[in-house]
Structures are given as C-alpha cells and as structure tokens.
Symmetry: C2
Subunit: 373 residues, 2 copies
C-alpha cells in the first residue's frame, strides 16, 4: 500500500467514519480505522459491530490523490486521527512497511504507527439485491431530530431505545416513545415500497451529523437484521432492534376538552425559566394553569424559592385547566417543534396532552402529565 | 432593598465576581453573592476566603439603574446567575421581602429566591493606607500568562504553587517554578516602591480573565497577608502564600556550550507532533538531536510507533548535542514565548537549558532535561 493525498481530504474521511470506532472494546481491531486502497479510490471504514460507517475518497484536483500501490491496513483510530490533524496542511504520503508498520510522512516529518492486518477487520453486513427507499437528506434529518430525543435512555425495554420507522400508504413515519412521552413525524412519499424497522436512536443521531445538507437524496435499505443509509460517498450501517414495537396509534387521543394556541417563544421561555427552580426535583415538575385566555407557568422548591410567569394565549376553546408536567419533556418537544405558534390540546389534568405546530399535523408531541399535587 | 436595572449590566457584574464564589463549602454563605445596594451604586462581592472579587455598578443611560431603597442581601450564586441569564433582555426589578426572600421580576415573570442575611458574609481584608504600585493592564496580563503555567500543581511545597512577584531597582519581575522548569519575566517600572509577595498562580490566572484590556492602569496593593488588584470598577483580593521563595537567580546558567536560533513555529509544530507519541509515557519524553545546523526532534513508543522530524536552524554556535525533555514543559514554554524566532542555549545533555525570544531578554524559560536513555 502506498499513496499520497492532501491532508484535509484524509482528515475529512477520518472524521466521517470516526463515530463508528469502538470506544471501549477488548477487540483491538474494532478501535481502528480500515483503509482499503484500491486502484482508483480509498475506502475508509469503522465498524463497532453495532454501527458501521464507510466513506470513499476518489482522486480530484483538490485532494491530489495519487495511488502508487493498492493494499489495506487497520490503524489505531485515536492516534491516526491525531497524527493527521497535527500534520501541516500539505500532501501526506502513507505506506505500509514490514509487519503492518505504517509510515505517514511529509517532506520533514516521518511518523510510524503500528497497524493491524486488514484481514482481521469485521465484514460489514451485505445489502445485495435489496430494494431501496429514497428520501431528501434534509427531510431525513428533520424526521430524526424531531423524534430521537423521545427514545428511552435505559435498556429496560430495548425496543423503546429505537425509532420505529414505517413506510406504508405513501407515508414515511418516524415514531419514538419512552413510555411517558411520544414524538411522531410523517412525510409524504409517493411510490415508496412498504418498509418497517426499529433503528437505535443513538445511531440515527450520529447519522444526522454526517448527512449531506439540502436536497441531496439519501437511500435507505433494509434486511432482516440491518439497515443501510447511503448519502453521497458515505454509507452508514446500523443493526436493527429485535422485537415488536408497541402500537402507539392507540394512545394518541382523538378528542380534547381544551384547545389553546400560544406564541411558541413565550411558552418556551416561561417553561425554561420555571425549569430552573424545578430541576433539583426528580420529575422536574412545573405547573400550568389556564384561566380564561391566560396561561400561568409556575414552579416552587422549598429550598430555593419559586417562580410564576404569565403567557397570553392567542386563542382558547373549552375548559379552564390545571396540569403539571416534567419540564424537560415539554422543553424537548417545544425545541423539536421550533414553531412560532403552538396548538396544545388537553383532556383534563390526568390525561396526556398533545402539542403541534399550529396548522401542521405532520409532527405530533404527546406528553404524560405529572399527577397534580 | 429595592432597585431596577437592565439585565445585561447585572449579568456582567455576576459573571465578574462569580470566579470567587466557593464551589465546595459547608458554609452556605460563601457560595453566595453579596449585593450591597447603596444610595448611588450597587456593590457585588464574592469571597471564598482565598480569593475575593468585588465590582461596582453605577447608574448610566445604558444600564438604567434606579435605586429606590438601599439595603443588602446574599443570594445563592448558582441560582441567582441562572435566573438572571434566563430572563429576557429588559429591565429587571429586585427587592427583598420578608425573611430575606428576594423577588426578581420583569413585567411577566416573578422569581423568589431564598437569600441570606448580609451580616453573615465575611469581610474582605482591609487595605487602608497601603502604598500602591501601578502597572498597565495588558502588561500585567502578559507577566501572568508567561509564568503562571510553571507553578507547581501539587501542595508538596505550597510556596511553589505561587508566583513570586518582586519589585526592586525599577524592575517588576514575575517568577514561577515547579522544580523542573522555571519561567521568569520582567518589565521596567520607574519610581516604583519595593514590593515582594508570593501570590497563588491559580488566582492570578483568574485575574487575567477579568482584567480590562490595553493601556488601562491596574493598581497593586500589599499587606502582610493579602494583595489587592484594582482594575477599573473591579477589585481583586487574594491571600499571599506564607514562606520564603527559593533563590531562583542561582539556578539560571550564565554561560552555554551550544546556542541555536530556530523558527518558533517550526519547533513548536515538531515538538507538538512528537508529543503525540510521547504522551502515554509518564514524562512525555521527546528527544532532540542537534547535528551541524539541523535539529531532529523524535519520540518513540513500543506500543504505538515513532516519529522523527527535522527543523533547520537559522544559526548555530558551539557543540553538537543530544538531549531529552518533557514535551509538555517545552510546549508550555514555547506557547508562552509565542515568538517567530527562538534562541536556545544548552550546557550539555544533563544541564537545564534556556529558551528566549531572540533579541529579547525580558522573558526566560528554563527547563530541566530528562536524562538521556
């Protein structure tokens, strides 16, 4: 193996794949990055057996890639990445010498890093002959960002640590719930095949960081055990979570006793401030009182003090109400919605309530109340 | 106590004093900020008994300060600071109600925080009638930044955790050493009084963060037990470290066997890269070999690999040399010097070596070698 390339291009590839490098592992090869140098391109891969990321460098005027001898090597990710980062912005030459010892050099600097035989690196799952689904990159990012925070953090019910992705009847829907809140978001896709999988929320959050922006198309592929997202030159592999996802459609209420429309920033600010006083309590409990058209958000702590703030609603129908909730859950939901105007629908103080962007039913946030005390 | 003020002005005062708030303390009042509201001004103070910071807000068109009733209160710094930070950018009203309960409010928000009786707050040391010393703010910042990193981190010899500040013969000198390296920096002051004190390095690093920039004058005052730095409306109090500072003048070598002049950035880059391979070893050992006019910087680790880099010197007199050193020490010294051109003077491979900015003797960095292996 021997090639030369501009530092920036190599650094970019390392950064792209590095999120899939195993952090704590006894299998040393998993904490490495596989470089597979072919006749016309370099393929960089990291794979911790849960998440795999692969990216490709092809020669360009910019990156000045020159491949002199194909070959492959696994290099320890941490050192490889820091060595490349600290090199000057210039052309770097890499070659494997005896015993997997790899030379990384510029005109004045010579590093040698101990590598590992590329044969030891695990194979990525195969997706040959699988039918794909196409989504715009920015749309996929939105679907993930508006739902992933509502997945469960703990492994008590592993299926809830994933996002349930369903495609049916020209609708692609992402749903996440930890049992106390639910976030669901759909987009319309025409001529899309049927599709269903539960994919780890954490992996999908990593995916958002490397997605191309804008209108670029991402392709989604699925097998019994894995999914694959292809975005430009980068391929993102994740395992699926086994098990049956709960039927969440049943828990979304149809009717409501109270509906209120409020300015999004005002409500977000009020709950953010109330959360300050609530945060030392386990359930971060904040109270909301709705009387006529005025919402009062409040919280108190015997040790710290209390806070009370009023928000004027823009429209209100139905009953007055008192309800309490976990401020963190509502803040997550409001930040995900990122709306100038919010519609909130309540069914009394003991039932879950729904928050949506006013006039837009594509994203729905459902939150269980804390029982009023 | 009752006053109103623009949020930004109050936030600024809280941030200025907050570095002196006690972090871990059983004495609750020390984790608070004292607000002392007088007829024409507000004095904010934090004091953890080691470090004290006090700042003053006087009314201006900008801050819209209106004092309706003088008085004082101690508020828990963490909550006070976050409450003010999260309030909208507007005029804030504060008043103390019953039992030290303090109301912080805007048109729509009302916070109440439990305060503490101002009488419980410790008194700052007194500096009445003490003669001062005047230094430019930027000059004082430089004196601290070029020396503080060389203080000892551990309390084995407490005196070495301080910077030795001496003023004599129209020279103000800052010196720090941890026993393996030494940094010393002087500036010329005319008509300055004699002055000597050992001040905790950590406190002085905090001082650099709140110093006014540029040509503003800072006044330094000294008593038997404390020092005071006055910069604009802010007063910075620190205790002194007891004991006799070692006579460091004796360990700075007079002559040299080798002198070399090198480009600062090239040497910094080379040692920074070599440190990557050296950093898993206790002493971060990097080797330097000087042969004719070429410096070779290298490092190796049986587990990771090795690195070697050449730097062309601009001038060299005296013997060739091989020496080894702790890369972190040299990097600290080079970053403090921040010089385009460095002059390094060696006395063989077992003696401490001196690094200076070429043509400037005001800052000197001295580093003990690691014995050659």
């Amino acid at each position: 193996m021997r090639f030369s390339i501009q530092k920036a291009a190599l650094m970019q590839a390392i950064q792209t794949v590095s999120k899939a490098v195993a952090v704590r592992t006894t299998k040393q090869v998993l904490s490495g990055i596989l470089l597979d140098v072919r006749d016309q391109e370099i393929i960089a891969t990291a794979y911790d057996l849960e998440l795999g990321i692969q990216t490709r460098i092809v020669g360009s005027e910019d990156n000045q890639l020159k491949i002199e001898q194909p070959g492959s090597i696994v290099l320890p990710a941490r050192y490889f990445s820091e060595v490349i980062r600290k090199l000057p912005d210039t052309v770097i030459t890499m070659q494997v010498a005896n015993n997997y010892m790899t030379e990384i050099s510029t005109a004045s600097v010579q590093f040698h890093l101990h590598g590992i035989d590329a044969e030891e690196f695990p194979k990525l799952p195969s997706f040959v002959g699988v039918q794909g689904l196409q989504v715009q990159s920015s749309m996929l990012g939105d679907l993930i960002r508006t739902t992933a925070f509502a997945t469960a953090n703990t492994e008590v019910r592993p299926i809830l640590t994933g996002i349930n992705i369903q495609c049916a009847n020209d609708k692609l829907t992402f749903t996440a719930t930890d049992g106390l809140r639910l976030a669901t978001h759909y987009v319309t896709l025409t001529d899309a095949p049927k599709w269903q999988a539960v994919i780890p929320g954490k992996s999908l959050i990593e995916l958002t960081k490397i997605l191309a922006s804008g209108d670029d198309i991402v392709e989604l592929y699925l097998t019994e055990s894995h999914s694959l997202f292809v975005s430009g030159d980068t391929r993102f592999y994740t395992r699926l979570i086994d098990g049956t996802y709960p039927d969440t459609s049943r828990i979304i209420p149809n009717g409501h006793k109270t509906e209120v429309i409020v300015p999004g920033d005002d409500l977000l600010g009020a709950i953010d401030r109330a959360a300050l006083i609530a945060r030392d309590r386990d359930n971060h409990m904040v109270r909301l009182e709705l009387e006529n058209t005025v919402l009062t958000v409040s919280s108190n702590s015997p040790e710290i003090g209390n806070v009370s703030e009023t928000v004027e609603s823009e429209q209100k129908t139905g009953d007055d109400l008192q309800i309490a909730f976990n401020a963190r859950y509502v803040l997550d939901a409001l930040r995900a919605l990122d709306a100038a105007q919010l519609t909130i629908r309540f069914n009394g103080s003991t039932q879950a309530f729904v928050i949506e962007k006013t006039g837009d039913k594509s994203v729905l946030q459902l939150i269980s109340p804390v029982l009023w005390r």
